[in-house]
Amino acid sequence: MTTPGGAVSAGAPLVGRGKRRRSRLAMREARDGYLFIAPWLLGFVLFTAGPMLASAVLALMRYNLFSPPVWVGLANIKKLVSDDIVWLSLWNTAYYTFLSVPLRLIASLVLALLCVQKIRFTAWFRTFFYLPSVTPAVAMAIVWFWILNPDVGLANTVLRAIGLPPSKWIWDPKTSKSTFVLMQMWTAGGNTMVIFLAGLQNIPQSLYEAAQIDGASGWAQFKNVTVPMLSPVILFNLVMGIIGSFQVFTGAFLMTAGGPANSTLFSVLYMYRLAFEQFEMGYASAFAWLLFLVILVFTLLQLRMSESWVYYEGG
């Protein structure tokens, strides 16, 4: 991404340089600037900073929406630490994230590389791969629920037809999380692929030509040209993928309701239950903050580690 800031402070020296007219213009421009970004600034206070602060305060209270909130201090946090379901849901979420994000990144990169090959109909193939990403997750969850049905579903019919043992998919704690990993490759893979495609198109063709003149093989070109040039995009997909996966919800909410044996009880699903089914707003806020901090740590870790492998042009 572009470095935020850049030539930003350029406006400041204009002010107070003695030239009255110039400074008045700069003042007016600054006023207009604040006016134009006001919607976002207001939204940031109303829907981001304010609620985050409120959430931190709520985490120290007991509040069920109907009676006034009661200050409980660190009680919610103590409860979090000893709540086995909290840790189970974090484990489920982490398991899902660390399996699904790398797999999806690799699969999407392969799809994107296939889509830039010089063959016909690539535009159609791209469309086919991308289409599941633009359809409502609810409809997709419903059709997958039907396909994965162990007795009459299409998935097991196909497995039996080619002589493989049928699976219980989301109805077996041993395979339920992996099944969600497979499904998200199908539903979200196209989205990641399109971002990779955009990145691939930004790589100058001359780099490949130079590599070919040096006699680099296809794999060497991929390793030494494609990957470094694509590394900022890989980082973007990695960071956004981890943030998104940690908040996985809809599929599990609709298909398994967290089961079987809580094996797909992901964190946001548990938080949803605490907040909107049991109305434990304080405890749910404490849990939300815990999840937020977990995501933050992983994001910062990624950004930190990226310094060693992401290549920025001209940087």
Binding site: G11, L131, V138, A139, W289
Partner: protein, 299 residues
């Protein structure tokens, strides 16, 4: 041809080989490539094809073994039936209201904020823009509960307002970023000329910048449309009344009632919910890749 995007296609492979016939290994490679692409396409399209196929079956054929792909007779009547047993048209209407209003809010506010960040100089601009980018990485879960409580105190529960109003406050960091990147590509001569003519900033925005950025705003509109049409969690939290459900939420309720018995009707309802998305996608697909390319995602 209606295809995902119009990318510059390099010289045809045959041209690279001049007049000579390429070696046999070249044909084998290409055949494998096509085979791989076609099988992958099938894998990606089968669930949707199965949904469509099931939606047109007699109830008795739904569980047929081996599976029937082309139903006979084709039960178009399933669609009539599903519209009579559930207020799907009503839900579609609700979704349209929410989606159109929220997308409008996204376009208006994102283009304003993007313009401000791209074209106007003011103290603190760099820091504020960094903050904006940082919010892109912020998981929404932490703000959800207080926002829910706030809307409850505003008596907005079970109305469309919680689904619409937040879009008028910037329309999301990603969209602002997208618009700003676009405005940065327009030469400043345009604003300077207008300013010398005595144009106010607002007129520059309204009469110079907005008309220039129409294709970019189309991209934002499509992203906004998809996000709001497909949204599930927000309607789930805020909407209760049966006649106010959005189509995704309605679909999940409908499934609760018919999910185990009437798969053909449930699939018909799903097709109805999916079709507007696919239609919009085919209608405007070049904007997708353009929009993603616009952000650059470079160093």
């Amino acid at each position: 041809m209606a295809t995902l995007s119009r990318l510059p296609r390099s010289a045809q492979a045959t041209a690279a080989h001049g007049g000579q016939h390429p070696p046999a290994s070249y044909y084998i490679k290409r055949a494998l490539l096509y085979l791989g692409m076609i099988s992958l396409s099938i894998v990606f399209m089968v669930p949707m094809a199965w949904m469509l196929s099931t939606s047109l079956k007699l109830q008795g054929q739904v569980f047929a073994h081996p599976p029937i792909w082309i139903p006979r007779p084709i039960m178009w009547y399933n669609y009539v039936e599903v519209l009579t047993v559930a207020p799907i048209l009503r839900w579609l209407g609700n979704t349209c209201v929410v989606t159109v209003a929220a997308t409008l809010g996204t376009i208006i506010s994102a283009s304003m904020v993007g313009f401000g960040f791209a074209r106007l100089r003011f103290p603190g601009r760099g820091a504020l823009f960094a903050l904006l980018l940082a919010t892109m990485m912020l998981p929404h879960i932490v703000t959800q509960i207080p926002t829910f409580i706030m809307f409850k105190y505003l008596n907005w529960h079970d109305t469309f307002l919680p689904l619409i109003v937040p879009s008028f406050f910037g329309g999301g960091a990603y969209n602002i970023f997208l618009v700003r990147q676009f405005y940065l590509t327009i030469p400043t001569d345009f604003d300077d000329a207008a300013r010398i003519d005595g144009c106010s900033t607002f007129r520059i925005f309204w009469q110079v910048m907005l008309p220039l950025s129409r294709p970019d705003l189309a991209t934002v509109a499509i992203f906004g449309f998809m996000a709001h049409w497909n949204d599930f969690l927000a309607p789930l939290i805020y909407i209760n009344s049966f006649d106010k459900l959005t189509v995704t939420l309605g679909l999940s309720r409908f499934r609760g009632e018919y999910g185990t018995t009437a798969w053909h009707l449930l699939m018909a309802a799903s097709v109805v919910a999916v079709i507007p998305c696919i239609a919009i996608f085919f209608f405007a697909q070049e904007h997708f890749v353009q929009g993603i390319q616009m952000t650059g995602m470079k160093g």
